[in-house]
Protein backbone atom coordinates (compact mmCIF):
# COMPACT_ATOMS: atom_id res chain seq x y z
CA UNK A 1 0.00 0.00 0.00
CA UNK A 2 1.50 3.25 -1.16
CA UNK A 3 -0.10 5.07 1.76
CA UNK A 4 2.71 3.71 3.94
CA UNK A 5 5.21 6.00 2.21
CA UNK A 6 3.22 9.20 1.92
CA UNK A 7 0.38 10.87 3.77
CA UNK A 8 -2.86 8.93 3.43
CA UNK A 9 -5.40 10.87 1.38
CA UNK A 10 -8.70 11.15 3.25
CA UNK A 11 -12.14 12.35 2.11
CA UNK A 12 -14.79 13.19 4.73
CA UNK A 13 -18.52 13.29 4.00
CA UNK A 14 -20.75 14.39 6.88
CA UNK A 15 -24.03 16.30 6.68
CA UNK A 16 -23.73 18.14 10.01
CA UNK A 17 -21.45 21.11 9.33
CA UNK A 18 -20.16 21.29 12.94
CA UNK A 19 -19.13 17.67 13.05
CA UNK A 20 -17.66 17.90 9.55
CA UNK A 21 -15.50 20.80 10.73
CA UNK A 22 -14.45 18.95 13.87
CA UNK A 23 -13.52 15.76 11.99
CA UNK A 24 -11.65 17.72 9.32
CA UNK A 25 -9.58 19.53 11.97
CA UNK A 26 -8.87 16.32 13.88
CA UNK A 27 -7.73 14.40 10.82
CA UNK A 28 -5.92 17.34 9.20
CA UNK A 29 -3.82 17.97 12.31
CA UNK A 30 -2.48 14.42 12.23
CA UNK A 31 0.88 13.81 10.53
CA UNK A 32 0.48 11.04 7.97
CA UNK A 33 -3.13 11.96 7.18
CA UNK A 34 -4.24 14.57 4.63
CA UNK A 35 -7.83 15.69 4.05
CA UNK A 36 -8.20 16.09 0.27
CA UNK A 37 -11.98 16.57 0.03
CA UNK A 38 -14.99 17.28 2.24
CA UNK A 39 -18.68 17.22 1.38
CA UNK A 40 -22.06 17.31 3.10
CA UNK A 41 -24.11 15.44 0.50
CA UNK A 42 -23.94 12.42 -1.76
CA UNK A 43 -23.96 14.30 -5.05
CA UNK A 44 -21.45 16.87 -3.81
CA UNK A 45 -19.17 14.03 -2.67
CA UNK A 46 -19.25 12.31 -6.05
CA UNK A 47 -18.38 15.64 -7.68
CA UNK A 48 -15.56 16.68 -5.36
CA UNK A 49 -13.80 13.48 -4.25
CA UNK A 50 -10.78 13.12 -6.56
CA UNK A 51 -9.30 9.88 -7.86
CA UNK A 52 -6.62 8.24 -5.72
CA UNK A 53 -8.26 8.79 -2.34
CA UNK A 54 -7.16 6.17 0.20
CA UNK A 55 -9.94 6.42 2.77
CA UNK A 56 -13.48 7.82 2.44
CA UNK A 57 -15.02 8.60 5.83
CA UNK A 58 -18.78 8.56 5.22
CA UNK A 59 -21.65 9.46 7.48
CA UNK A 60 -24.68 7.26 6.81
CA UNK A 61 -27.21 10.08 6.99
CA UNK A 62 -26.46 12.62 4.29
CA UNK A 63 -28.30 15.68 2.98
CA UNK A 64 -29.25 13.74 -0.14
CA UNK A 65 -29.10 9.96 -0.24
CA UNK A 66 -27.01 7.96 2.22
CA UNK A 67 -23.46 6.81 2.90
CA UNK A 68 -24.15 3.23 1.83
CA UNK A 69 -25.12 4.18 -1.70
CA UNK A 70 -22.26 6.69 -1.83
CA UNK A 71 -19.71 4.13 -0.62
CA UNK A 72 -20.83 1.63 -3.25
CA UNK A 73 -20.60 4.31 -5.94
CA UNK A 74 -17.10 5.37 -4.82
CA UNK A 75 -15.83 1.79 -4.84
CA UNK A 76 -17.44 1.15 -8.22
CA UNK A 77 -15.43 4.12 -9.53
CA UNK A 78 -12.21 3.17 -7.76
CA UNK A 79 -11.98 -0.27 -6.08
CA UNK A 80 -8.92 0.87 -4.07
CA UNK A 81 -10.91 3.36 -1.98
CA UNK A 82 -11.44 2.05 1.52
CA UNK A 83 -14.68 2.97 3.24
CA UNK A 84 -15.07 3.98 6.89
CA UNK A 85 -18.70 4.47 7.83
CA UNK A 86 -19.79 6.74 10.67
CA UNK A 87 -23.19 6.45 12.30
CA UNK A 88 -24.87 7.14 15.58
CA UNK A 89 -26.80 3.88 15.14
CA UNK A 90 -25.51 0.32 15.17
CA UNK A 91 -25.12 -0.41 11.46
CA UNK A 92 -22.88 -3.45 11.76
CA UNK A 93 -25.47 -5.69 10.10
CA UNK A 94 -25.36 -3.35 7.15
CA UNK A 95 -21.57 -3.21 7.05
CA UNK A 96 -21.57 -7.00 7.04
CA UNK A 97 -24.01 -7.31 4.14
CA UNK A 98 -22.31 -4.56 2.11
CA UNK A 99 -18.83 -5.97 2.78
CA UNK A 100 -19.86 -9.40 1.46
CA UNK A 101 -19.67 -8.12 -2.14
CA UNK A 102 -17.52 -4.98 -1.85
CA UNK A 103 -13.98 -4.88 -3.37
CA UNK A 104 -12.63 -4.44 0.20
CA UNK A 105 -14.58 -4.89 3.44
CA UNK A 106 -15.91 -1.71 5.02
CA UNK A 107 -14.99 -0.34 8.43
CA UNK A 108 -17.37 1.22 10.90
CA UNK A 109 -17.09 3.63 13.81
CA UNK A 110 -19.98 4.95 15.88
CA UNK A 111 -20.29 8.73 15.97
CA UNK A 112 -19.61 8.74 19.67
CA UNK A 113 -16.32 6.93 19.06
CA UNK A 114 -15.51 9.24 16.15
CA UNK A 115 -15.35 12.26 18.43
CA UNK A 116 -12.61 10.59 20.50
CA UNK A 117 -9.61 12.10 18.72
CA UNK A 118 -7.21 9.23 19.42
CA UNK A 119 -9.62 6.55 18.30
CA UNK A 120 -10.69 8.34 15.11
CA UNK A 121 -7.12 9.04 14.00
CA UNK A 122 -5.91 5.54 14.88
CA UNK A 123 -8.87 4.03 12.98
CA UNK A 124 -8.33 6.09 9.83
CA UNK A 125 -4.63 5.26 9.87
CA UNK A 126 -5.40 1.55 10.28
CA UNK A 127 -7.94 1.65 7.45
CA UNK A 128 -5.44 3.48 5.24
CA UNK A 129 -3.00 0.64 5.89
CA UNK A 130 -5.50 -1.90 4.62
CA UNK A 131 -7.00 -3.04 7.89
CA UNK A 132 -10.69 -3.42 8.58
CA UNK A 133 -11.84 -1.73 11.78
CA UNK A 134 -15.06 -2.32 13.70
CA UNK A 135 -16.32 0.02 16.41
CA UNK A 136 -14.74 -1.08 19.72
CA UNK A 137 -17.97 -0.77 21.74
CA UNK A 138 -19.77 -3.08 19.34
CA UNK A 139 -16.85 -5.50 19.08
CA UNK A 140 -17.07 -5.93 22.84
CA UNK A 141 -20.80 -6.70 22.62
CA UNK A 142 -20.34 -9.28 19.85
CA UNK A 143 -21.37 -12.90 20.37
CA UNK A 144 -20.49 -15.77 17.97
CA UNK A 145 -23.42 -17.24 16.04
CA UNK A 146 -24.27 -20.75 17.29
CA UNK A 147 -22.58 -23.59 15.35
CA UNK A 148 -20.44 -21.17 13.32
CA UNK A 149 -16.67 -21.84 12.92
CA UNK A 150 -16.11 -18.75 15.07
CA UNK A 151 -18.01 -20.33 17.96
CA UNK A 152 -15.24 -22.97 18.16
CA UNK A 153 -12.57 -20.38 19.10
CA UNK A 154 -11.29 -20.47 22.65
CA UNK A 155 -12.05 -17.46 24.86
CA UNK A 156 -8.42 -16.30 24.48
CA UNK A 157 -8.53 -16.65 20.69
CA UNK A 158 -11.84 -14.76 20.54
CA UNK A 159 -10.32 -11.92 22.59
CA UNK A 160 -7.36 -11.69 20.20
CA UNK A 161 -9.72 -11.62 17.22
CA UNK A 162 -11.80 -8.90 18.90
CA UNK A 163 -8.72 -6.70 19.24
CA UNK A 164 -7.74 -7.38 15.61
CA UNK A 165 -11.28 -6.37 14.60
CA UNK A 166 -10.77 -3.11 16.49
CA UNK A 167 -7.88 -2.43 14.12
CA UNK A 168 -4.94 -3.11 16.44
CA UNK A 169 -1.63 -4.41 15.11
CA UNK A 170 0.05 -7.43 16.72
CA UNK A 171 2.24 -5.25 18.96
CA UNK A 172 -0.73 -3.38 20.38
CA UNK A 173 -2.70 -6.61 20.86
CA UNK A 174 0.24 -8.12 22.73
CA UNK A 175 0.52 -5.03 24.92
CA UNK A 176 -3.18 -5.02 25.69
CA UNK A 177 -3.25 -8.68 26.65
CA UNK A 178 0.11 -8.67 28.42
CA UNK A 179 1.59 -11.38 26.20
CA UNK A 180 4.43 -11.41 23.67
CA UNK A 181 3.92 -10.51 20.00
CA UNK A 182 5.09 -14.05 19.18
CA UNK A 183 2.24 -15.45 21.30
CA UNK A 184 -0.18 -13.20 19.42
CA UNK A 185 1.10 -14.56 16.11
CA UNK A 186 0.65 -18.11 17.36
CA UNK A 187 -2.90 -17.35 18.44
CA UNK A 188 -3.65 -15.81 15.03
CA UNK A 189 -2.29 -18.88 13.20
CA UNK A 190 -4.66 -21.01 15.27
CA UNK A 191 -7.54 -18.66 14.53
CA UNK A 192 -6.89 -18.70 10.77
CA UNK A 193 -6.78 -22.50 10.81
CA UNK A 194 -10.01 -22.83 12.80
CA UNK A 195 -11.78 -20.37 10.55
CA UNK A 196 -10.49 -22.28 7.50
CA UNK A 197 -9.45 -19.06 5.73
CA UNK A 198 -8.44 -19.37 2.06
CA UNK A 199 -4.68 -19.56 1.55
CA UNK A 200 -2.98 -16.53 0.02
CA UNK A 201 -5.73 -14.13 0.98
CA UNK A 202 -5.03 -11.30 3.38
CA UNK A 203 -5.75 -13.43 6.43
CA UNK A 204 -6.11 -10.52 8.81
CA UNK A 205 -8.84 -8.86 6.74
CA UNK A 206 -10.51 -12.22 6.02
CA UNK A 207 -10.57 -12.97 9.74
CA UNK A 208 -12.25 -9.64 10.53
CA UNK A 209 -14.77 -10.30 7.76
CA UNK A 210 -15.47 -13.72 9.28
CA UNK A 211 -15.83 -12.00 12.64
CA UNK A 212 -18.44 -9.68 11.11
CA UNK A 213 -20.29 -12.50 9.41
CA UNK A 214 -20.30 -14.94 12.28
CA UNK A 215 -21.14 -12.71 15.20
CA UNK A 216 -24.29 -10.86 16.22
CA UNK A 217 -24.96 -8.11 18.75
CA UNK A 218 -28.25 -9.09 20.36
CA UNK A 219 -30.27 -6.02 21.22
CA UNK A 220 -27.47 -3.59 20.37
Amino acid sequence: MSAAHRAARVAIVEDEALLLGLLTRLVGAQPGLEVVATAQGQREALDTIPAGVDVAVLDIELLDGNGIVLGRALQARDPHVRILLLSSHNVLGLVRSVSADAPTPWSYLSKRSSTEPGLLVRTIAAVAHGRVVVDPALVRRSVPVDDSPLSRLTAAQFRVLQLVAEGYGNGAVAEDLGITPKAVEAQLTGIYRLLDLPAGANNRVAAVLAFLQQTVRPGA
Binding site: N66, S88, N90, L92, L94, V143, V145, D146, G219, A220
Partner: protein, 403 residues
Protein backbone atom coordinates in the same frame (compact mmCIF):
# COMPACT_ATOMS: atom_id res chain seq x y z
CA UNK B 1 -72.80 19.43 -15.97
CA UNK B 2 -72.16 19.82 -19.75
CA UNK B 3 -73.61 17.64 -22.47
CA UNK B 4 -71.24 14.88 -23.55
CA UNK B 5 -70.98 12.82 -26.73
CA UNK B 6 -72.71 9.96 -24.98
CA UNK B 7 -75.56 12.34 -24.06
CA UNK B 8 -75.94 13.31 -27.71
CA UNK B 9 -76.19 9.68 -28.70
CA UNK B 10 -78.69 9.05 -25.90
CA UNK B 11 -80.83 12.01 -26.96
CA UNK B 12 -80.71 10.96 -30.61
CA UNK B 13 -81.69 7.36 -29.80
CA UNK B 14 -84.41 8.34 -27.32
CA UNK B 15 -85.82 11.15 -29.48
CA UNK B 16 -85.76 9.39 -32.84
CA UNK B 17 -86.90 6.15 -31.17
CA UNK B 18 -89.83 8.03 -29.68
CA UNK B 19 -90.84 9.41 -33.04
CA UNK B 20 -90.57 5.96 -34.65
CA UNK B 21 -93.02 4.74 -32.01
CA UNK B 22 -95.29 7.70 -32.75
CA UNK B 23 -95.04 7.18 -36.49
CA UNK B 24 -95.91 3.49 -36.35
CA UNK B 25 -99.62 4.05 -35.58
CA UNK B 26 -99.72 5.51 -39.07
CA UNK B 27 -100.38 1.90 -39.95
CA UNK B 28 -103.71 2.57 -38.35
CA UNK B 29 -104.53 4.25 -41.62
CA UNK B 30 -104.41 0.78 -43.14
CA UNK B 31 -106.66 -0.85 -40.57
CA UNK B 32 -109.83 1.06 -41.44
CA UNK B 33 -109.30 -0.15 -44.92
CA UNK B 34 -108.90 -3.76 -43.62
CA UNK B 35 -111.91 -3.39 -41.38
CA UNK B 36 -114.02 -2.03 -44.16
CA UNK B 37 -113.36 -5.21 -46.13
CA UNK B 38 -115.67 -7.01 -43.66
CA UNK B 39 -117.88 -4.20 -42.39
CA UNK B 40 -118.09 -1.59 -45.11
CA UNK B 41 -118.98 1.99 -44.58
CA UNK B 42 -117.47 2.70 -41.14
CA UNK B 43 -114.19 4.49 -40.44
CA UNK B 44 -112.83 4.79 -43.91
CA UNK B 45 -115.94 6.51 -45.00
CA UNK B 46 -115.43 9.07 -42.33
CA UNK B 47 -111.91 9.62 -43.60
CA UNK B 48 -113.05 9.69 -47.18
CA UNK B 49 -111.01 6.65 -48.20
CA UNK B 50 -112.54 4.49 -50.79
CA UNK B 51 -113.00 1.14 -49.06
CA UNK B 52 -111.71 -0.74 -52.05
CA UNK B 53 -108.69 1.43 -52.74
CA UNK B 54 -105.58 -0.17 -51.12
CA UNK B 55 -103.27 2.26 -52.90
CA UNK B 56 -104.88 5.24 -51.09
CA UNK B 57 -104.47 3.53 -47.72
CA UNK B 58 -100.79 2.70 -48.30
CA UNK B 59 -100.08 6.22 -49.54
CA UNK B 60 -101.68 7.68 -46.42
CA UNK B 61 -99.74 5.35 -44.14
CA UNK B 62 -96.40 6.21 -45.76
CA UNK B 63 -97.11 9.94 -45.67
CA UNK B 64 -98.10 9.80 -42.00
CA UNK B 65 -95.00 7.73 -41.11
CA UNK B 66 -92.58 9.98 -42.96
CA UNK B 67 -94.49 13.10 -41.89
CA UNK B 68 -93.94 12.19 -38.23
CA UNK B 69 -90.43 10.75 -38.31
CA UNK B 70 -88.69 13.34 -40.49
CA UNK B 71 -89.77 16.47 -38.56
CA UNK B 72 -89.27 14.57 -35.29
CA UNK B 73 -85.68 13.67 -36.20
CA UNK B 74 -85.09 17.23 -37.39
CA UNK B 75 -86.41 18.55 -34.07
CA UNK B 76 -83.96 16.31 -32.17
CA UNK B 77 -81.18 17.64 -34.40
CA UNK B 78 -82.23 21.22 -33.65
CA UNK B 79 -82.23 20.54 -29.90
CA UNK B 80 -78.67 19.20 -30.16
CA UNK B 81 -77.14 21.53 -32.73
CA UNK B 82 -78.44 24.82 -31.34
CA UNK B 83 -77.48 23.88 -27.82
CA UNK B 84 -81.12 24.22 -26.78
CA UNK B 85 -80.68 21.06 -24.67
CA UNK B 86 -78.36 23.08 -22.39
CA UNK B 87 -80.91 25.88 -21.79
CA UNK B 88 -82.60 26.25 -18.40
CA UNK B 89 -85.66 24.01 -18.10
CA UNK B 90 -88.30 26.71 -18.69
CA UNK B 91 -86.72 28.08 -21.86
CA UNK B 92 -85.95 24.59 -23.08
CA UNK B 93 -89.63 23.70 -22.64
CA UNK B 94 -90.50 26.73 -24.78
CA UNK B 95 -88.20 25.53 -27.57
CA UNK B 96 -89.65 22.02 -27.32
CA UNK B 97 -93.19 23.41 -27.49
CA UNK B 98 -92.36 25.40 -30.63
CA UNK B 99 -90.73 22.34 -32.21
CA UNK B 100 -93.77 20.24 -31.29
CA UNK B 101 -96.09 22.71 -33.00
CA UNK B 102 -93.87 22.55 -36.10
CA UNK B 103 -93.92 18.75 -36.06
CA UNK B 104 -97.69 18.75 -35.63
CA UNK B 105 -98.06 21.14 -38.58
CA UNK B 106 -95.98 18.91 -40.85
CA UNK B 107 -97.83 15.80 -39.72
CA UNK B 108 -101.24 17.38 -40.20
CA UNK B 109 -100.13 18.63 -43.60
CA UNK B 110 -99.03 15.10 -44.53
CA UNK B 111 -102.40 13.78 -43.42
CA UNK B 112 -104.27 16.28 -45.60
CA UNK B 113 -102.04 15.43 -48.57
CA UNK B 114 -102.65 11.71 -48.12
CA UNK B 115 -106.42 11.89 -48.12
CA UNK B 116 -108.15 11.79 -51.46
CA UNK B 117 -111.01 13.92 -50.15
CA UNK B 118 -111.08 16.92 -47.82
CA UNK B 119 -111.15 16.07 -44.18
CA UNK B 120 -114.15 16.97 -42.16
CA UNK B 121 -113.51 20.40 -40.69
CA UNK B 122 -113.38 19.35 -37.05
CA UNK B 123 -110.81 16.57 -37.65
CA UNK B 124 -107.91 18.89 -38.57
CA UNK B 125 -107.55 20.77 -35.26
CA UNK B 126 -108.07 17.49 -33.36
CA UNK B 127 -105.36 15.75 -35.35
CA UNK B 128 -103.12 18.82 -34.93
CA UNK B 129 -103.54 18.92 -31.15
CA UNK B 130 -102.98 15.19 -30.85
CA UNK B 131 -99.78 15.35 -32.94
CA UNK B 132 -98.47 18.34 -30.99
CA UNK B 133 -99.16 16.60 -27.67
CA UNK B 134 -97.40 13.45 -28.82
CA UNK B 135 -94.37 15.39 -30.07
CA UNK B 136 -94.22 17.37 -26.82
CA UNK B 137 -94.17 14.17 -24.78
CA UNK B 138 -91.57 12.49 -27.04
CA UNK B 139 -89.17 15.46 -27.02
CA UNK B 140 -89.80 16.17 -23.33
CA UNK B 141 -89.06 12.58 -22.33
CA UNK B 142 -85.89 12.52 -24.44
CA UNK B 143 -84.70 15.76 -22.82
CA UNK B 144 -85.61 14.46 -19.37
CA UNK B 145 -83.68 11.27 -20.10
CA UNK B 146 -80.60 13.35 -20.81
CA UNK B 147 -81.17 15.28 -17.56
CA UNK B 148 -81.34 12.05 -15.55
CA UNK B 149 -78.15 10.78 -17.17
CA UNK B 150 -76.35 14.00 -16.37
CA UNK B 151 -77.55 13.95 -12.79
CA UNK B 152 -76.43 10.35 -12.27
CA UNK B 153 -73.06 11.24 -13.70
CA UNK B 154 -72.75 14.32 -11.51
CA UNK B 155 -73.54 12.26 -8.42
CA UNK B 156 -71.06 9.59 -9.46
CA UNK B 157 -68.37 12.22 -10.04
CA UNK B 158 -69.07 13.79 -6.69
CA UNK B 159 -68.87 10.41 -5.00
CA UNK B 160 -65.55 9.71 -6.74
CA UNK B 161 -64.24 13.16 -5.81
CA UNK B 162 -65.24 12.60 -2.19
CA UNK B 163 -63.59 9.16 -2.14
CA UNK B 164 -60.45 10.62 -3.69
CA UNK B 165 -60.46 13.46 -1.22
CA UNK B 166 -60.85 11.01 1.68
CA UNK B 167 -57.98 8.91 0.34
CA UNK B 168 -55.78 11.99 -0.08
CA UNK B 169 -56.56 13.27 3.41
CA UNK B 170 -55.84 9.82 4.83
CA UNK B 171 -52.53 9.64 2.97
CA UNK B 172 -51.61 13.17 4.08
CA UNK B 173 -52.43 12.30 7.68
CA UNK B 174 -50.33 9.15 7.45
CA UNK B 175 -47.45 11.12 5.97
CA UNK B 176 -47.74 13.84 8.59
CA UNK B 177 -47.93 11.31 11.41
CA UNK B 178 -44.82 9.63 10.09
CA UNK B 179 -42.99 12.94 9.75
CA UNK B 180 -43.78 13.91 13.34
CA UNK B 181 -42.87 10.44 14.60
CA UNK B 182 -39.56 10.64 12.78
CA UNK B 183 -38.81 14.10 14.15
CA UNK B 184 -39.63 13.16 17.75
CA UNK B 185 -37.66 9.94 17.36
CA UNK B 186 -34.65 11.88 16.11
CA UNK B 187 -34.88 14.34 18.98
CA UNK B 188 -35.01 11.49 21.47
CA UNK B 189 -32.07 9.87 19.80
CA UNK B 190 -29.94 12.89 19.02
CA UNK B 191 -30.97 15.20 21.83
CA UNK B 192 -32.06 13.32 24.92
CA UNK B 193 -29.60 10.46 24.49
CA UNK B 194 -26.66 12.82 24.01
CA UNK B 195 -27.62 14.76 27.13
CA UNK B 196 -27.79 11.57 29.10
CA UNK B 197 -24.32 10.66 27.84
CA UNK B 198 -22.99 14.01 29.00
CA UNK B 199 -24.79 13.73 32.35
CA UNK B 200 -23.32 10.27 32.90
CA UNK B 201 -19.84 11.57 32.07
CA UNK B 202 -20.24 14.41 34.61
CA UNK B 203 -21.44 11.96 37.26
CA UNK B 204 -18.35 9.89 36.46
CA UNK B 205 -16.17 12.82 37.49
CA UNK B 206 -18.18 13.29 40.68
CA UNK B 207 -17.78 9.61 41.47
CA UNK B 208 -14.00 9.86 41.05
CA UNK B 209 -13.89 13.00 43.18
CA UNK B 210 -15.91 11.33 45.95
CA UNK B 211 -13.58 8.34 45.93
CA UNK B 212 -10.59 10.67 46.14
CA UNK B 213 -12.15 12.40 49.15
CA UNK B 214 -12.68 9.14 51.00
CA UNK B 215 -16.43 8.80 50.45
CA UNK B 216 -16.68 5.27 48.98
CA UNK B 217 -20.31 4.81 50.13
CA UNK B 218 -21.67 7.85 48.29
CA UNK B 219 -19.38 7.09 45.34
CA UNK B 220 -21.01 3.66 45.06
CA UNK B 221 -24.49 5.27 45.06
CA UNK B 222 -23.39 7.65 42.31
CA UNK B 223 -22.06 4.69 40.35
CA UNK B 224 -25.44 2.97 40.63
CA UNK B 225 -27.08 6.16 39.44
CA UNK B 226 -24.78 6.21 36.41
CA UNK B 227 -25.76 2.61 35.67
CA UNK B 228 -29.43 3.55 35.91
CA UNK B 229 -28.88 6.47 33.52
CA UNK B 230 -27.03 4.22 31.08
CA UNK B 231 -29.80 1.64 31.19
CA UNK B 232 -32.39 4.37 30.73
CA UNK B 233 -30.52 5.68 27.72
CA UNK B 234 -29.60 2.34 26.20
CA UNK B 235 -32.96 0.64 26.68
CA UNK B 236 -35.85 2.98 27.41
CA UNK B 237 -34.98 5.97 25.26
CA UNK B 238 -33.74 3.81 22.44
CA UNK B 239 -36.84 1.58 22.53
CA UNK B 240 -39.07 4.64 22.64
CA UNK B 241 -37.31 6.25 19.69
CA UNK B 242 -37.42 2.98 17.78
CA UNK B 243 -41.10 2.45 18.55
CA UNK B 244 -41.91 5.90 17.20
CA UNK B 245 -39.88 5.51 14.06
CA UNK B 246 -37.52 2.69 13.17
CA UNK B 247 -34.49 4.67 12.14
CA UNK B 248 -33.47 1.87 9.75
CA UNK B 249 -36.52 2.63 7.61
CA UNK B 250 -34.62 5.69 6.35
CA UNK B 251 -32.37 3.22 4.56
CA UNK B 252 -33.45 0.76 1.88
CA UNK B 253 -35.59 -2.13 3.04
CA UNK B 254 -32.82 -4.68 2.49
CA UNK B 255 -30.38 -2.55 4.49
CA UNK B 256 -32.91 -2.20 7.31
CA UNK B 257 -33.43 -5.97 7.41
CA UNK B 258 -29.66 -6.55 7.44
CA UNK B 259 -29.52 -4.35 10.55
CA UNK B 260 -32.32 -6.35 12.11
CA UNK B 261 -30.49 -9.62 11.44
CA UNK B 262 -27.45 -8.35 13.36
CA UNK B 263 -29.48 -7.84 16.53
CA UNK B 264 -30.96 -11.33 16.79
CA UNK B 265 -29.78 -13.90 19.34
CA UNK B 266 -26.85 -16.04 18.16
CA UNK B 267 -29.03 -19.18 18.07
CA UNK B 268 -31.34 -17.80 15.38
CA UNK B 269 -30.83 -18.05 11.64
CA UNK B 270 -32.62 -15.40 9.60
CA UNK B 271 -32.97 -15.92 5.86
CA UNK B 272 -34.34 -13.07 3.72
CA UNK B 273 -35.32 -13.63 0.07
CA UNK B 274 -36.33 -10.91 -2.37
CA UNK B 275 -38.42 -11.78 -5.43
CA UNK B 276 -37.61 -10.44 -8.89
CA UNK B 277 -40.64 -8.14 -8.74
CA UNK B 278 -39.43 -6.25 -5.68
CA UNK B 279 -35.70 -5.99 -6.49
CA UNK B 280 -36.03 -3.05 -8.90
CA UNK B 281 -37.56 -1.03 -6.06
CA UNK B 282 -34.62 -1.73 -3.75
CA UNK B 283 -31.61 -1.18 -6.02
CA UNK B 284 -29.25 1.75 -5.36
CA UNK B 285 -30.86 4.92 -6.66
CA UNK B 286 -34.03 3.06 -7.68
CA UNK B 287 -36.57 5.53 -9.07
CA UNK B 288 -39.44 5.10 -8.42
CA UNK B 289 -38.86 3.43 -5.11
CA UNK B 290 -40.80 2.50 -1.96
CA UNK B 291 -42.18 5.51 -0.09
CA UNK B 292 -40.98 6.09 3.50
CA UNK B 293 -44.45 5.14 4.76
CA UNK B 294 -44.36 1.87 2.85
CA UNK B 295 -40.81 1.12 4.01
CA UNK B 296 -41.84 1.71 7.60
CA UNK B 297 -44.94 -0.47 7.16
CA UNK B 298 -42.99 -3.34 5.60
CA UNK B 299 -40.05 -3.11 7.99
CA UNK B 300 -42.26 -2.86 11.08
CA UNK B 301 -44.27 -5.88 10.00
CA UNK B 302 -41.21 -8.05 9.41
CA UNK B 303 -39.69 -6.86 12.68
CA UNK B 304 -42.88 -7.63 14.58
CA UNK B 305 -43.12 -11.05 12.89
CA UNK B 306 -39.53 -11.87 13.82
CA UNK B 307 -40.05 -10.64 17.39
CA UNK B 308 -43.19 -12.79 17.69
CA UNK B 309 -41.37 -15.85 16.37
CA UNK B 310 -38.65 -15.37 18.98
CA UNK B 311 -40.81 -14.35 21.91
CA UNK B 312 -43.68 -16.80 21.58
CA UNK B 313 -42.49 -19.48 19.21
CA UNK B 314 -38.93 -20.10 20.45
CA UNK B 315 -37.85 -20.25 16.80
CA UNK B 316 -34.35 -21.13 15.57
CA UNK B 317 -34.95 -20.52 11.91
CA UNK B 318 -36.88 -17.60 10.42
CA UNK B 319 -37.48 -17.23 6.69
CA UNK B 320 -38.64 -13.92 5.25
CA UNK B 321 -39.84 -13.72 1.64
CA UNK B 322 -40.68 -10.43 -0.07
CA UNK B 323 -42.23 -10.11 -3.51
CA UNK B 324 -44.16 -7.47 -5.44
CA UNK B 325 -46.65 -7.81 -8.29
CA UNK B 326 -48.97 -5.49 -10.19
CA UNK B 327 -52.33 -4.92 -8.51
CA UNK B 328 -55.70 -5.67 -10.10
CA UNK B 329 -56.72 -2.85 -12.39
CA UNK B 330 -60.36 -2.69 -11.26
CA UNK B 331 -59.58 -2.21 -7.61
CA UNK B 332 -56.19 -0.49 -7.66
CA UNK B 333 -54.73 2.75 -8.87
CA UNK B 334 -52.41 3.12 -11.80
CA UNK B 335 -48.81 2.18 -10.97
CA UNK B 336 -49.82 0.50 -7.75
CA UNK B 337 -48.09 -2.70 -6.69
CA UNK B 338 -49.07 -5.26 -4.13
CA UNK B 339 -46.15 -6.29 -1.92
CA UNK B 340 -46.46 -9.68 -0.30
CA UNK B 341 -44.33 -10.46 2.73
CA UNK B 342 -44.27 -13.82 4.50
CA UNK B 343 -42.41 -14.48 7.74
CA UNK B 344 -42.12 -18.22 8.47
CA UNK B 345 -40.57 -19.79 11.53
CA UNK B 346 -39.88 -23.28 12.84
CA UNK B 347 -40.97 -22.50 16.40
CA UNK B 348 -43.84 -23.90 18.40
CA UNK B 349 -46.42 -22.13 16.26
CA UNK B 350 -49.61 -20.42 17.30
CA UNK B 351 -50.53 -21.11 20.89
CA UNK B 352 -53.46 -18.85 21.69
CA UNK B 353 -55.88 -17.64 19.02
CA UNK B 354 -55.36 -13.97 18.25
CA UNK B 355 -52.87 -13.46 21.04
CA UNK B 356 -49.90 -13.01 18.70
CA UNK B 357 -51.76 -10.55 16.55
CA UNK B 358 -51.97 -7.96 19.32
CA UNK B 359 -48.64 -6.38 18.38
CA UNK B 360 -49.58 -6.55 14.72
CA UNK B 361 -52.91 -4.77 15.09
CA UNK B 362 -51.63 -1.39 13.82
CA UNK B 363 -49.94 -3.03 10.83
CA UNK B 364 -53.09 -5.03 10.06
CA UNK B 365 -55.26 -1.91 10.32
CA UNK B 366 -52.91 -0.06 7.99
CA UNK B 367 -52.87 -2.92 5.48
CA UNK B 368 -56.67 -3.18 5.48
CA UNK B 369 -57.11 0.57 5.13
CA UNK B 370 -55.11 0.31 1.93
CA UNK B 371 -57.03 -2.71 0.63
CA UNK B 372 -54.53 -5.35 1.76
CA UNK B 373 -54.55 -7.70 4.72
CA UNK B 374 -52.35 -9.27 7.36
CA UNK B 375 -52.97 -12.77 8.64
CA UNK B 376 -51.28 -15.23 10.97
CA UNK B 377 -51.45 -18.97 10.25
CA UNK B 378 -49.49 -22.19 10.22
CA UNK B 379 -46.11 -22.27 8.46
CA UNK B 380 -44.69 -25.07 6.30
CA UNK B 381 -41.61 -24.78 8.54
CA UNK B 382 -43.68 -26.00 11.49
CA UNK B 383 -44.20 -22.75 13.34
CA UNK B 384 -46.23 -19.66 12.52
CA UNK B 385 -46.55 -17.82 9.22
CA UNK B 386 -47.23 -14.12 9.08
CA UNK B 387 -48.65 -13.13 5.72
CA UNK B 388 -48.90 -9.49 4.66
CA UNK B 389 -50.37 -8.15 1.44
CA UNK B 390 -49.85 -4.40 1.21
CA UNK B 391 -50.79 -2.30 -1.83
CA UNK B 392 -48.00 0.27 -2.28
CA UNK B 393 -47.48 3.19 -4.63
CA UNK B 394 -43.82 3.62 -5.52
CA UNK B 395 -42.75 7.28 -5.45
CA UNK B 396 -40.24 9.38 -7.36
CA UNK B 397 -37.26 10.58 -5.37
CA UNK B 398 -38.21 14.24 -5.31
CA UNK B 399 -41.47 13.62 -3.43
CA UNK B 400 -40.06 10.98 -1.13
CA UNK B 401 -38.49 13.16 1.53
CA UNK B 402 -39.88 13.27 5.05
CA UNK B 403 -37.41 15.86 6.21
Amino acid sequence: MPVRGSDRRALTVAGVGGFVLLALPAAVALSPWRLDQTTPGTTSQALGIAPDDLGDAVRLAVLLFVGTLVPGALAVLVLLRTGAIDLPRGRRFGVIAVLSVAIASVRTGALSLGLPAHLPGNLVPMEFLLAAGEALIALGLAAYYVDVRRQIRAEEQQRLAEAEHAARVSAELEHEELRVRREVSQRLHGGLQQRLVVAAAQLDEIERALEAHGEPGIARSVHELIDTLDTLREREVRALAHGLYPWAADLDLDAALALLADQLPPSVHLDVRYGSGVRPLLADGADPTLSPADRVALFSTVEEGVTNALRHGDARRIAVAIEAAAGHHETHHEGELVVRVTVDDDGSGLTGPGAELAGLAPQRARARRRGGDLTLGASPLGGARLDLRLPVRPVRHEVEELR
